[in-house]
């Protein structure tokens, strides 16, 4: 049975924990709004880009001179998994769920005899993957200094990816990130970016004039489209992270509240018991006289 002093200290410490989690929840809520706005602002560009690239790709695909980014290298032996996680923890299952999906994919590919390389974006994913897939890590991009994710950050990642691609270090690249559904639901999503995936029904009826040629435009657009997809993933991930943190901290605040209630009851009971005990001692002392 803990003493009254211990209980009091305990209650004090849980109370300050609750204050911290409450503050974190509010900060996450404010950041979430900003992240969501950023993700929405980027949507028109990404949508348009996808439309144009799909239309172009559908008409060029299959022809001899199709760029490698679209047609692939002709093999799918080496896979690059780009795992995007947060730089910080305390956001519930956010990081683990991405890592879990990526790890599952890596194991499946290795089971099929493929080579797997992993590029991590964000510290948390790296920490988790280092334990069992450390040998497959080929690079890391640190965004811990970045306050607000911009297009340049996506460009930095894609530049590294293109360098590797041109050096023939991989055949297929897939990004793993959390798609933002709502504050309480983020869906870990793999998305193949190289070679580009073209939906079946992408071919548009509209006949476009191309200036310069179709191939030249595609050559210019494909890298941009990859960067845009990475950018979209970064923004979605940012919003998901804040959403996950917000609900995790909301839970933590509630749990702390419950714990404080329980401890307070225990504290009051022990105080009452102590008083009763003292009274009994005084009365029996008086009776003995």
């Amino acid at each position: 049975m803990p003493s009254l002093k211990d209980l009091k200290n305990r209650i004090g410490s849980v109370k300050s924990t609750r204050k911290i989690t409450k503050a974190m929840q509010m900060v996450a809520a404010a950041k979430l709004r900003r992240a969501q706005e950023a993700a929405e602002a980027a949507r028109p560009y990404a949508d348009k880009m996808a439309d144009v690239v799909n239309g172009l790709a559908a008409s060029v695909a299959g022809s001899e001179g199709a760029p490698k980014l679209l047609a692939g290298t002709g093999s799918d032996q080496t896979h690059l998994l780009i795992v995007m996680t947060a730089e910080r923890g305390l956001c519930g299952g956010f990081n683990s769920s991405i890592v879990k999906v990526a790890r599952y994919r890596a194991e499946k590919l290795m089971g099929e005899g493929k080579t797997v390389k992993i590029l991590t974006v964000g510290k948390k994913g790296r920490e988790q993957l280092r334990r069992d897939l450390g040998a497959h890590l080929v690079g890391h991009i640190d965004l811990s200094e970045v306050k607000r994710v911009g297009y340049e950050n996506a460009a930095e990642i894609s530049k590294k990816v293109f360098e590797m691609f041109e050096a023939g270090e991989f055949d297929v690249a897939t990004i793993f990130y959390n798609r933002f559904e709502s504050v309480i639901s983020q869906i870990p999503t793999p998305r193949q970016i190289i070679p580009a995936v073209v939906p079946e029904d992408a071919a548009t009826d509209a006949l476009y004039d191309y200036e310069p040629s179709e191939e030249a435009i595609l050559e210019d657009l494909l890298p941009r489209s990859v960067t845009t997809q990475i950018f979209t993933a970064l923004l979605e991930n940012g919003a998901s992270e804040q959403g996950a943190r917000m609900s995790a901290m909301d839970n933590a605040t509630r749990n702390a509240g419950d714990m404080i209630d329980r401890l307070t009851i225990e504290y009051n009971r022990s105080r009452q018991a102590a008083i009763t005990k003292e009274l009994i001692e005084i009365i029996s002392g008086a009776e003995a006289l």
Partner: protein
């Protein structure tokens, strides 16, 4: 009165302009062009330059650093790599970009250098035309 068409100017981070316009002057990679309503469907890449949208309520000017434009009979969408309004604020940002571009051109070599040099020259011309 000429017909109006939908015009959108978007950069990866945000939408810069959207509305009904009479015509858009686009700095295409192979020469400037002006798109009006019912223009033949065209996709073109952009070189750094000045983009002008002519709306009934007045013209707006933007400097773009590259990207591409999709023109259809119904409207024009410009997907710019980076775009800034052609005013003194935009100018300050653009001058920084120009310097970066020049520095990058100095580091590279071969066709890449030619490409960057050309882009830098285009951009500096666009910046000069602002004032």
């Amino acid at each position: 009165m000429a017909e109006l068409m939908q015009f959108d100017l978007v950069s990866p981070e945000r939408k810069l302009a959207s509305g009904q316009v009479r015509a858009v002057q686009i700095p295409g990679a192979e020469g400037d062009m002006t798109a009006m309503a019912n223009h033949a469907a065209t996709i073109t890449t952009l070189r750094p330059g000045v983009l002008v949208s002519e709306a009934p309520e007045g013209n707006s000017r933007f400097v773009v650093t590259g990207g591409f434009a999709e023109i259809s009979p119904q409207g024009t969408s410009v997907l710019a790599e980076r775009a800034y309004p052609a005013n003194s604020e935009g100018r300050a940002v653009l001058e920084v970009i120009l310097q970066e571009m020049r520095a990058k051109a100095a580091e590279s070599s071969g066709p890449e250098k030619d490409r960057l040099d050309k882009a830098a020259n285009d951009l500096s011309r666009a910046i000069e035309s602002i004032s």
